[in-house]
């Protein structure tokens, strides 16, 4: 029986460097960083402040142009000494989901409208966008708050709405910047379990910038950065015991819905 083919990485960086400024003011934010993230993996980018975590996230998110190296996303070469795609915004809209430390929901849109907005930007009709937004909010157990404005949501609810927004266009790459920072440890664990499940169900690659050591055991890999360099790569056993995960989720005041995968 032939061995199963190795899946291609969804995120692949090779020898990526990024510096800001020149001469005496030059700062090397990233130096020859090479990482790969495969479908279904949740990886952590950890390191002290100024180690290059957010710069790395910006590079993968096609927001910051590297100084050198190459980048491949979802099998498509995106950067090789220069951007290979002109429409990076479209790439972000369709291929990448973003989750922020402070949720960054648009304060003038309701929970549903925040999710709808990215769907409409991608070309969905208003009716389709609304239906999918409501499904996603239901899936994330915040459907009952769909009309609420961000200022009326608790931290956990706002973060789940932000996750719904990140999932709206079914991206296979999700970038999360300190997603558990504003949450207590129990809710932080639940959010990570949710990301874990999304990675598994959608075969998505999720990169999480975090300082929170309590969630390290929910990660498949930990990439440690220091002074812009990849200091170490640590493979974790992961948090793949589905029964244990479900039981943890059910203990919480909100759980992933009975649906086995995101709508």
């Amino acid at each position: 029986m032939p061995a199963a083919a190795e899946p291609s990485p969804l995120v692949e960086l090779r020898a990526v460097s990024k510096h800001f400024g020149e001469g005496e003011t030059r700062v090397d934010a990233l130096v020859d960083v090479s990482i790969s993230v495969f479908p279904g993996e949740v990886v952590g980018l950890v390191g002290p402040s100024g180690s290059g975590k957010t710069t790395l996230l910006n590079v993968v998110g096609c927001v910051t142009e590297p100084s050198s190296g190459w980048l491949r996303l979802n099998g498509e070469a995106v950067y090789d000494q220069r951007w290979l795609r002109r429409d990076l915004r479209r790439l972000r809209l369709e291929k990448i989901g973003f989750i922020f430390q402070t949720h960054n929901l648009l304060p003038f849109l309701s929970a549903t409208e925040n999710v709808m907005e990215v769907l409409e930007l991608a070309g969905a009709s208003s009716a389709d966008a609304r239906a999918r937004a409501v499904d996603l909010l239901d899936y994330l157990q915040v459907g009952h708050r769909k009309h609420a404005m961000p200022s009326q949501l608790s931290g956990g609810e706002a973060q789940r709405v932000a996750i719904a927004r990140a999932l709206a266009n079914r991206p296979r790459i999700i970038l999360a910047d300190e997603p558990t920072a504003p949450l207590d440890s129990e809710r932080a664990g639940i959010v990570m379990d949710l990301l874990r499940r999304i990675a598994t169900d959608q075969k998505a690659a999720i990169l999480v910038v975090t300082h929170d050591e309590n969630i390290f055991d929910r990660l498949d890999h930990i990439f440690r950065l220091r002074d812009g360099r990849l200091e170490s790569t640590e493979k974790r056993t992961g948090y793949q015991n589905d029964r244990e995960a479900r039981s943890a989720l059910e203990r919480a005041d909100f759980t992933v819905s009975h649906a086995s995968s995101p709508p």
């Binding site: 957010t54 996230l57 910006n58 998110g61 927001v63 910051t64 915004r89 479209r90 790439l91 972000r92 809209l93 369709e94 973003f98 922020f100 430390q101 402070t102 960054n104 648009l106 304060p107 003038f108 849109l109 409208e113 709808m116 907005e117 990215v118 409409e120 930007l121 991608a122 208003s126 966008a129 404005m149 927004r165 910047d177 300190e178």
Partner: protein, 379 residues
Amino acid sequence: MNLAIRDVRHNAPRFALTTLGVAGLLAVVITMMGIYEGALSDALRLPRASNPDLWVVQPLTKGPFAEPSRIPRDTRDLIRRMPGVAATGAVTFQTLQATTANGKPLRLFLQGYEPGRLGGPPAMIAGHGITQSHYQIVADISSGLRIGDQLSLGPHSYPYTVVGLTQGMVTSSSDPVAWVTLLDAQAIQFDVAPSLQRREKAAGRPPIVTADINAVLVRLHPGVSKAAVAQDIERWKHLSAVTEQQEEDYLTVFVISRMQKQLGMFMGILIVISAVIIALIIYTLTMDKLRSIATLKLVGAPDRTIISLIVQQALMLGVSAFALGVALTSAFKGYFPRRVQMEPRDIAILFAIVVVMCLLASILSVRAAVKVDPATALG
């Protein structure tokens, strides 16, 4: 989904207050435009009321509304006998301060005319025209006079009685127009006090007798060329003859133009202030949501979405303020102490100016928003 409407709804109190402020400024602009149009309309009412084909005035002058004109009274007879002339009327004009029966001063623009000839009051809303040679007056209702009221004019102690009322007949200065007989008007304007006549007699000079008129109104037979008759009058009678259209042009170009410039300057200043207020509030609203703009850019929103958000908000503010300004002016123009005449053409021009003003006001905010780095959304 319209982001601009959602954001405006989210900032409703701030938006509403700004709209109210800008609407107040635009209401002042609309009122000023209305005052100008009203003054123009008022200025043309008197010459149009008589509706002559030609105005015959002192040589080398431009008519009684543009500059002083004095011509002999028999000019009317000279003109009446010219070929092509159907009707004439000798008139005088003067602004004076009358005194009502209860002693209150009343400023009037007095026109003397010969009853039965050109130059009399237009259709009256009450009473009748002048039926006696002396001491009857027809006045515009804006003077506050009523039929039967009595008032003193000039040096004469004998009271004039109001016998007829017109409506809407005021000058460009909003002075009500009144009509008396030419004889009365000449007496009021030119009579010399008895003591002065005695002094002239003592000095051996002839008595001062003046019975001049200011202009002769001329109506021609149908088909007769105004230009030809005007040329004949100037060549053979040594007088100036201006057509009705020229007289209106003199009024609008020379008399009203200063008001137009004054009001135009105020309107310009107010429009600039409105633009600055709109620019300021749109800029503030934009600065408040820089993080939202960065987030939108990060998740893939194109620049046109951001620009549209800002420009639409500026237009919503300007158009709402404009509509409110028009409504306010319409509601309160009746209380203004001058005629405020809102012309659809002026309103349309102001609307176009407001739209351009909003677009210009949003430039600063659009520049700031386009420069936002999406990376700032990630902290």
